[in-house]
């Protein structure tokens, strides 16, 4: 039977090391054949924000193509693709009220809008849930 793991995230992109650490963890969990649920709360609703755009880096002398800076939305899309290849489920829910107050309604495909009730549903239907809070 496939294990399902749920993660609750809170940090906005580019603000905390936690984001990369948790995405590494989710990546590993997919490699191990786990179904993944993510409940994005508060700033984390910006992680899959569709309008994130790459940029050049003049400090390093790299143009936009050379910089090739992976954006959080690209990492998340890549995790979704990987989950498909591994034939495991990947469900990303953005907390709706958090989306509204932040104006983060444009999310990448595969992200759905939800509420705290979804987090509870995810948690009660998973083998384990990890909350990664913010400070």
């Amino acid at each position: 039977m496939t294990t399902t793991l749920t993660f609750a995230l809170m940090d906005a992109p580019f603000e905390a090391s936690r984001t990369a650490t948790v995405l590494r963890l989710i990546d590993d969990a997919i490699d191990k054949g786990c179904n993944i649920n993510v409940f994005a709360y508060e700033g984390a609703v910006y992680l899959p924000f569709a309008l994130q755009a790459p940029h050049a880096n003049a400090v390093h002398g790299r143009d936009i193509d050379e910089e090739d800076h992976p954006l959080p939305r690209e990492w998340i899309a890549a995790l979704m693709e990987k989950a498909k290849r591994w034939d495991v489920a990947f469900d990303w829910v953005n907390c709706g009220l958090c989306v509204d107050e932040r104006g983060a309604s444009e999310a990448i495909e595969g992200v759905r809008r939800g509420s705290p009730a979804d987090f509870w549903t995810m948690a009660t239907s998973s083998e384990n849930t990890l909350v990664v809070g913010t400070n």
């Binding site: 609750a8 709360y41 509870w120 948690a123 849930t129």
Partner: protein, 126 residues
Amino acid sequence: MKALNIISLGYRATLEEQDDTIVWLTHAMRGAGADIDILLRGSAVNYVVKGQAVSPLAIGGREQKHAPDVYGQIETLSEKGARIYVLAEDLKQRGLKQAPRLDATRIVSDDDLPELLGGYDAVWHW
């Protein structure tokens, strides 16, 4: 499933959000049928202290209608049946051992944590 939300950081963005967002989340999940209690530690132990009040914030003339009321949020949560645990050591370190506090508060010490945490199916540290 019984869950325990541990809240360690008090007053994080509470003015902007008009709520403590984890206490709010706990309310929302309880509303959806969740059986969740909370453990307040760190600066969040101040939430149960009586007498705190926030005047609605006005910035540049734009006034806030509903200032945060974290004490009230906790009080309402307890009235809905949630257990409100507060860590004794953190109250003491902050000089709050004798401070008037919410009647529904259940004081626990670090020594009680293994049994407390062991009584929940899920423990989430926010």
